[in-house]
């Protein structure tokens, strides 16, 4: 993947990089949180605008993680890299967790605004559908015992999912125009008061760096796990 196909070079390259990412993520999260609670409340939404600073980054990086999963699946399928499969597997859990967070914070944000915990609008429904894609991916990977076969089947689904995502997103948006022709201003979409940009962008970057840190750490762990398994198998053979 991106030339780092052989594990040794990948481990060497990401060795020093991963701690830096973890450090940067912590700093960004701290600064972002601090900024999120120093900006003035929104005249219309009141304090609930602060929820946006955790909702939107989670939704954005939930999608970002699926893109990483899909692209890794492509490399795993086409170039048969074991590393690419590890990358796809490693992106699944953080991505699903971020998407679930986006759903939870989204409904918390909606309640004071629309009076209901869940609204079937285009954005929240798309996040829910993305969560279903993760569910399907993880269910498939969990129910095939043979590791090698499970990995390839999951790679096919990861790639198919990535290709289908824009189509499904389009159909949800089209569906939204069908049932709610007067599409009212969905919160935080366009009219973002510039004063909220610093916390918003910091938190967005923070979630992104955190995802990278989680992702690389999980891949490195998987590389080490496979080395342990092969070493144990060889020792069992020699014993």
């Amino acid at each position: 993947m991106f030339g780092l196909s052989n594990p040794q070079r990948f481990m060497a390259f990401t060795g020093p990089l991963t701690p830096i990412l973890w450090g940067l993520a912590v700093v960004l999260l701290a600064v972002g949180s601090w900024l999120s609670f120093t900006v003035p409340a929104d005249y219309q939404q009141g304090e609930t605008v602060r929820i946006m600073f955790v909702h939107v980054p989670a939704a954005v990086w939930g999608l970002g993680a699926y893109a990483a999963l899909g692209v890794s699946s492509f490399f795993a399928l086409v170039f048969r890299h074991a590393l690419a499969d590890a990358a796809a597997r490693a992106a699944a859990l953080p991505g699903a967790a971020f998407t679930a967070l986006a759903l939870f914070t989204g409904s918390l944000w909606g309640k004071p605004m629309w009076g209901t915990w869940w609204v079937w609008d285009a954005r929240l429904t798309s996040v829910l559908v993305l969560f279903l894609f993760y569910l399907g991916y993880m269910a498939l990977r969990a129910s095939i015992d043979d590791e090698q076969k499970g990995a390839r089947a999951a790679a096919v689904l990861g790639l198919v999912g990535l290709i289908n995502l824009p189509i499904v997103k389009f159909s949800v948006d089209w569906w939204n125009t069908l049932h709610q022709p007067a599409s009212f201003l969905t919160p935080g979409s366009s009219g973002l008061d510039p004063v909220y940009l610093p916390p918003f962008l910091t938190m967005l970057a923070a979630y992104g760096v955190l995802f990278l840190a989680l992702w690389l750490t999980a891949i490195r762990t998987e590389v080490r796990r496979r080395r342990v398994v092969t070493l144990r198998a060889r020792q069992a053979l020699e014993a």
């Binding site: 498939l140 129910s143 095939i144 390839r152 096919v156 198919v160 499904v168 569906w175 069908l178």
Partner: protein
């Protein structure tokens, strides 16, 4: 026993011949045991009958959702016989025989998808308007329901075939196929039910049907390659 003369050059069945031969067998297997399309239609009708029992038989509540429910039932009924599509062939070794035919695996999976559409999709498509009208869909929409159900049924058959191939060799195949495939069924359900919705509110359903058709072509390309890859993977 007279010595059978062993001719060297077998007459290849040619593309059409092999396709016909496999299609016939798949249809025979799908409709074997007398069940035939009755099973899928039976499930479809059951699902439709349960709704009024659940929410009351008043057409004022059923009418507006009739088209949508018919499409939901169509999607679920299409999931029915997907497990049979590959699982049985893997167990009895037929998949290896299919892999060594003249046609590539990409063609085999497409023929299976076609057989799935003919055996399940078409009967469901013809039952859909009847079930929808029973739920209060204005009779004027019946032809549109049938047309959209037939096109959408092809999308369900194709994506369902892909789901069946992916879940091949997995434990709990049936349920897994549903979880894997249902998110991919969203576009046909949205466009299909949307076509009915548009038509019932006087607008032209053609754009929705066009999207439905586009999804089917899109699903065909994806299914051919992805299913073949999934089947080869499970065969190893």
């Amino acid at each position: 026993m007279s010595r059978p003369s062993v001719q060297r050059e077998p007459r290849p069945p040619g593309l059409r011949g092999a396709t016909r031969v496999l299609l016939e067998r798949e249809l025979d297997l799908a409709w074997s045991g007398g069940g035939g399309p009755l099973l899928a239609c039976g499930f479809f009708v059951c699902l439709t009958a349960v709704l009024p029992l659940a929410v009351g038989g008043d057409f004022r509540t059923l009418g507006p959702v009739a088209g949508g429910v018919a499409w939901l039932a169509l999607a679920l009924a299409s999931l029915l016989s997907l497990e049979r599509l590959f699982e049985r062939d893997l167990e009895d070794g037929a998949l290896d025989l299919l892999a060594l035919g003249h046609l590539p695996m990409e063609a085999v999976v497409m023929i299976k998808a076609l057989a799935q559409w003919i055996a399940v999709g078409v009967p469901l498509g013809l039952t859909a308007p009847i079930a929808a009208m029973a739920l209060g869909l204005p009779p004027g929409l019946a032809p549109l329901t049938a047309l959209s159900a037939l096109i959408g049924g092809a999308g369900f058959a194709l994506t369902g075939t892909l789901g069946a191939a992916l879940a091949l060799g997995a434990r709990r195949g049936g349920l897994l196929i549903a979880v894997v495939v249902l998110p991919l069924f969203i576009p046909p359900v949205v466009f299909g039910a949307g076509a009915l919705e548009r038509a019932s509110s006087g607008q032209s359903p053609v754009p929705a049907l066009a999207f439905l058709g586009a999804y089917v072509l899109f699903a065909a390309v994806i299914t051919a390659f992805a299913s073949a890859a999934a089947v080869r993977n499970a065969q190893e």
